[in-house]
Each structure stands twice: as C-alpha cells, then as structure tokens.
C-alpha cells in the first residue's frame, strides 16, 4: 500500500509506452489491403509501347509466385525501388509484372528506357480503374501473387532489400502463410 503513489506514474508509463510503440511502428498511412487471399480482378491491358507483351489477369496465374508492381513515371518513390527490381531481374529470383498506373504511354516508355525494364510484361492502366479494382491508393504498391493468381500480400511503398527479405522471400521459399 505504501507504493500506491506509483499508480498514476505507472498509468502514465503504460500510455506512453503504447503511444511510443504506435508512433514508431504503426503507420496510419498504411491501410491494410482488403484484397489479400482474393483472386485478382479481371483485366486485360495493352503493354507500354515497346515494352510488351501485354498484361491480362490470366498471365498472372503463372504457376509460380510472382510480383505485380504498380508504377508510374510521375512517381518519385518508384525511382527508389526500381534499381532493386533491376537487381531482382538480374538474379532471376522472381518474375515481376508491371502495372503502369495513370500514366501516358510515351512517358511510361521513356521512363522504362531511361531506368531499365525489370518487367516480364507490362500493362497500362491509363484511367486507373484496374488500380481501383486492386485497391491501389498510391504508387508504388507491390502485390505478391500466388501460383494460381491470388493476392497473397501487398507491400505499400517502395520495396527495399529488407522488405523483400522479410515479406516476399518467405513466400518464395514456400514458408509464407
């Protein structure tokens, strides 16, 4: 009972600990995807000129785990992850498909010629409708797609080596849920 005076201090410490955790570990800008473990929506898109072949839903049920990367030439954060995707392509670790989001064909083609093309196929979602069907709300976003074309996970923001190792590699090794 002598330690009763500590009650407010402990209460404060508990609240502070929760807020500290939330401040550094939770990102309010990251809205959990509603599409996880759902099949991909139907789409059939033309390729970025000269960066084909074109991209349709059926192409993503490829029999192995693949990535679907949403990118745009106007997106600054895409530049940050692009060299890493080029690395992935060089190492041939996983097939990456590119969904060009709300861009113009010329700008997209120019961007790919300048920064390299890590994609097996590209599709242009000029009006952004496929993006909305996928629940995309910002670029870049990267979907992990199962062998039968279901969405396994979504990474919001640029993919780095760390994120790849913690969130994508487990799927590739077959240990992901």
């Amino acid at each position: 009972m002598r330690l009763r005076f500590l009650a407010p201090v402990l209460t404060f410490a508990a609240i502070a600990a929760i807020m500290w955790y939330a401040l550094f570990n939770l990102n309010p800008k990251e809205i959990p995807s509603e599409m996880i473990s759902k099949p991909l929506p139907e789409f059939d898109l033309a390729a970025v000129p000269d960066y084909g072949p074109a991209l349709a839903t059926a192409d993503l049920a490829s029999g192995k785990i693949t990535l679907l990367n949403v990118f745009a030439s106007w997106c600054v954060a895409c530049l940050a992850e692009h060299p890493f995707f080029m690395d992935l392509k060089r190492q041939n670790l996983v097939d990456i498909y590119g969904l060009n989001y709300k861009d113009t064909p010329d700008a997209a083609a120019q961007w790919l010629s300048r920064h390299g093309n890590p994609y097996m196929r590209t599709g242009m979602d000029i009006k952004g409708r496929v993006g909305i069907d996928l629940g995309v709300y910002g670029v870049p976003e990267t979907f992990v797609i199962s062998a039968d074309g279901k969405i396994l996970d979504k990474i919001i923001g640029p993919v780095s080596k760390d994120i790849f190792d913690t969130r994508i590699r487990p799927f590739l090794q077959g240990t992901g849920s």
Partner: protein
C-alpha cells in the same frame, strides 16, 4: 472601425463560400441521382488525405472514386451496393461511419470503457481519501504527555510558581 467591419464582411463571405466549395466535375443530369451521389461521397473516406471525405478532397484518387460513385448510381445500383463496391476493394476503412462489427467493438465501446474505468478509479481514490481523513484523527494525549507539553509551552508560568 468602418474598415474593420468591411474586412470582417469580406472574410465572412470568403469563409461561407469556401465552406460551400465542393469538387464537382461531371454532375449527373438527374438532380435526385446527383444528390444521392453526393450523399454517398460524403460518407466515403478519401484514402490519400485520410480525414476528408471524397466529396471534399481534391486528390486524384478521390476524383476517380467520385466518378465511380456517379457511374454506379447511373447503373441503377442502390446506395448500399455502391458502398459495398468500394468496401470490397478498400475495406471498412473507407466508410467514415464504421459499421458495428466484432472487429470494431473496441472502436465503438473503447471510449465508454475508458470512461467507466476512469470513473471507478476516481471513486476508489476519493473513498480512500475520505477514509484516510477519518484515520488521521489525532490521538488524545495521555496525562503525562499533556503535562510535559504544558511545561514546554509555558515555561515562564512554571518558573514564576516556583
């Protein structure tokens, strides 16, 4: 003084106008449908600028979503169907008025629980305090203690007496 009044009027007008500003691109011709579209849009949270509805957000995505809402209404869908179209893609998160579900119980009742918890804490705190006050009643001095105290307080009197 007059100038200040005029300035006040102008600011007042600006505020009222800006409050009415909504982003309308392609309004529906049917005013009843347009009203429904706006009513739905008002309740859909913009994913880019989080605490605004898509009706008063100027984000590109909000624009697209408003367009989709209008399209769906024109296709003859009910308000709930339009909402569920968005919820299947973006989750309950897009609804500014979250539905009551098992997952959202804490959201709805959390503040009540915290309030009640605080109330109980205050109740015990106050009760503890008033009990302490009863306990703190000073003990009566014994006769010898009283004599000693008297001696200390009035040394002169005792001196004069001797």
């Amino acid at each position: 003084m007059l100038r200040l009044g005029a300035l006040g009027c102008i600011i007042g007008l600006l505020v009222t106008f800006s409050a009415q500003a909504v982003f309308v691109e392609n309004q529906l011709d049917d005013t009843a449908l347009e009203a429904r579209a706006r009513h739905i849009s008002e309740g859909i949270r913009c994913l880019v600028c989080q605490n605004q509805s898509i009706l008063d957000s100027n984000a590109d995505l909000a624009k697209d979503l408003r367009k989709i809402v209008r399209e769906r209404i024109q296709l003859g869908e009910s308000d709930d169907q339009v909402r569920s179209f968005l919820v299947t893609r973006y989750g309950d998160w897009v609804l500014l008025d979250p539905p009551f579900k098992l997952r959202t119980v804490f959201l709805w009742f959390g503040p009540l629980f915290i309030f009640l918890g605080g109330g109980i804490a205050v109740f015990f705190f106050m009760r503890g305090r008033s009990q302490n006050r009863l306990d703190d009643q000073p003990e009566k001095l014994t006769a010898s203690e009283k004599a000693e105290l008297d001696k200390l307080l009035h040394p002169d009197e005792s001196g004069r007496a001797s």
